[in-house]
């Protein structure tokens, strides 16, 4: 008996139906939109002085230990990036002489890094056991250690490399910013915003923050303007001279949108922000997965066919 390649390819094609449909998905999952009550920050790099009061406040109010980048001399809390002991960090961009703030050439700029609380988070889509969830109202992405299996797929999925894992611990957890949910519950605002002395980080509803960001992009460089401090529509304000902005609100659309919005005087890729399309990776991944597995219809039909054929063929063999 001779193997007919055509027969084989027919069967391969039948099985391949399971996966082939994804080339042009018919059932694209709709993009997710921001909740009206979504909460977040507007971080304005041009306002930030790099004092790191936010880093220190974040540690204090989240009861996080010191993280030292120099193990030989661990006197200071000086992490180089967010890590399993650090939810929030201020990083420095420097070019050439670094003398002028918020200038790309021979300048410097600060950038705050933390969980972006994405509109359509890759980590939430990736987590096999729903340990990462997005609050349907305020949109905060939280972590539930009692569900987590520690597979670290969230880390692989996150375009901002935010979830951090306790590799050094016997019983490790994932660690990330949860927008100080424990403080929000008490009617307080997240520690990093409350302790920011300049108003570089302001807390508020994302739609208000977006309006504020767009307003700032209209400001004339050199003009004096009033900037809210700590939170939008609060009492504290500061007057400052406007410096030039890159005409973009990072986070408005990037990766499907985030609840942390950024303004800066230096291009965002220079600040280390990933350049993402407007479509979230979660949407793409789920569209392909759902095209194959929607209602388990394709697998069930395939299984039905298999049961019939295998039953028939095993009888033949006896």
């Amino acid at each position: 008996m001779e193997i007919k390649r055509r027969d084989f390819l027919k069967v391969a094609a039948a099985g391949g139906l399971l996966v082939a449909s994804n080339a042009h998905p018919a059932l694209a999952r709709d993009p997710k939109t921001r909740s009206k009550d979504a909460l977040g920050f507007l971080y304005d790099s041009t306002v930030c002085t790099g004092c790191k009061a936010c880093v220190s406040a974040c540690k204090q109010y989240n009861e996080m230990p010191q993280s030292s980048s120099s193990p030989q001399d661990p006197l200071w809390d000086n992490p180089l990036d967010t890590d399993s002991k650090t939810y929030n960090i201020i990083k420095l961009y420097k070019n050439g002489t670094g003398e002028i703030k918020d200038r790309e050439q021979d300048g410097h700029a600060y950038v705050k890094r933390q969980c972006m609380h994405c509109v359509d988070p890759a980590c939430v889509s990736a987590c096999p056991v729903s340990a990462l969830t997005k609050d349907p109202k305020n949109g905060v992405v939280s972590y539930n250690k009692s569900a987590c299996i520690g597979c670290r797929y969230c880390q692989l999925a996150c375009p901002y490399n935010i979830p951090k894992f306790e590799f050094e611990k016997t019983f490790p957890q994932i660690r990330k910013c949860q927008l100080c949910s424990h403080r929000l519950e008490k009617g307080e605002i997240p520690a990093c915003a409350e302790f920011c002395p300049t108003g570089a980080t302001v807390f508020g509803k994302v739609e208000d923050l977006l309006a504020e960001a767009r307003k700032r992009l209209q400001y004339k460089p050199g003009s004096k303007q009033v900037y809210p401090v700590e939170r939008l529509n609060g009492k504290a304000v500061a007057e400052r001279e406007v410096t030039p902005y890159i005409p973009q609100v990072y986070g408005e659309k990037e990766g499907g949108g985030t609840q942390i919005l950024y303004l800066a005087g230096v291009p965002f890729d220079k600040l280390g922000m990933p350049m993402l399309g407007e479509r979230s990776d979660a949407q793409r991944s789920e569209t392909i997965q759902h095209a194959i597995y929607k209602g388990m219809v394709a697998p069930i039909i395939f299984l039905g066919g298999l049961l019939y054929v295998v039953h028939k063929n095993t009888k033949d063999h006896k």
Binding site: M1, I3, R5, D7, F8, L9, V11, A12, G15, G16, V19, N22, A23, D81, S84, S125, A126, C127, P128, V129, S130, A131, A147, C148, I149, C151, R152, Y153, Q155, L156, P159, N161, F165, E166, F167, E168, K169, T170, F171, P172, Q173, L276, D281, A282, S285, I288, Q289, I292, Y293, P299, F302, L303, L306, L307, V309, V310, H311, N313, T314, H317
Partner: protein, 393 residues
Amino acid sequence: MSEESRPLGGEVLTKPFKVLAGIFGFALLLIAIRYVFGIGAVSNLNDGYPWGIWIAYDVVAGTAIACGGYALALMVYVMNKGEYHALVRPALLASVFGYTLAGASIFVDIGRYWNAYKLFTPWYANPNSIMFEVAFCVSLYIGVLWIEFMPAFLEGVSKYKEHLPEFVRNWNVEGLRKTLNKFMFVFIAVGVLLPTMHQSSLGSLMLIAGKKLSPLWQTGLLPLLFLISAITMGYAIVIFEGIYAAVGFKRPIEMPLLTKISGVMPGLIGVYLAIRIIDLVVRGAVGVAFQINIQSLMFWVENALYVAALVYAAPVANRTKPKPLFLSAFFMLMAGTVYRFNTFLVGFNPGANWSYFPSFSETVITLGMISFEIMAYLYIVKKFPVLPKAEHA
């Protein structure tokens, strides 16, 4: 069917077996260290590269190499080529251990293993997660593989008592074997469905890595490419193992069967390469392959291996000779493995400040898993009716 397979007999504690046992013992020690002092104590895994060789080799490449049972089931039971029956059991055995060890490796890799059962609790399970689909499917398939292999075990118990350890000699298994055979078609059918699902989903896992995965590998066709290459690797391992075991145990090679099986390889590799190239062209990613870096180098290595496998398998005359056939299978296994390493590690770049290369301990743990797999295979083919009767060939 029982008349076709015989235990090989012979000494179990050979020299290679003892070496493998040594590696496995060392790996066990390192695994103990991992459970006490954490994953960081034995591995170079980090927040940028959360997955290393335990995932890329033990799970992703390992289960594809263990697709022999799946590939043969497609041929024997779906396409009704009963003549390959003699090859089913050795293939199934390798699949049983390949998958079981992949499952065991996951328990070394995941940080909060005590929560693993939550994958099976409906209120925790996340059907949007490709990891959920993979984990659920692979777990089920491990169970199905053990059931599929049960007849060999039960026959071994009832027919070759003298070869067996004492504790199994007295079981009365004939009834169980008959009942199992009646329902075996269900397990065989499910045993084809599940690998079709998870071998493609293993590719889909990397979809959500988005731009962190190089455009040389990031494509919506990941599930299709992973499925085709897994099936091809399945046939390759049947051929590789068939020749290797025959030479190793000084038995005749089942050349006519292996020659016929290898007939599907050129077509599968050709289809795979065509899809791979068209996809790169359509996505406009070809230019990336000509940049000078480790990613483009590994891209060419990967595809050169595919082409080598194709070149050796394509001429009909080659497929009747053990050496070119063996080389073709070897290159195919390498090609699929490098493709998986590239997709999960080499092509993955979380950012400039991160790097990963497996640590010594991490590597030993993976080698220990492979050693155990080979030891278990050697033990079982010597004690249970797995390999075809020698004079049959």
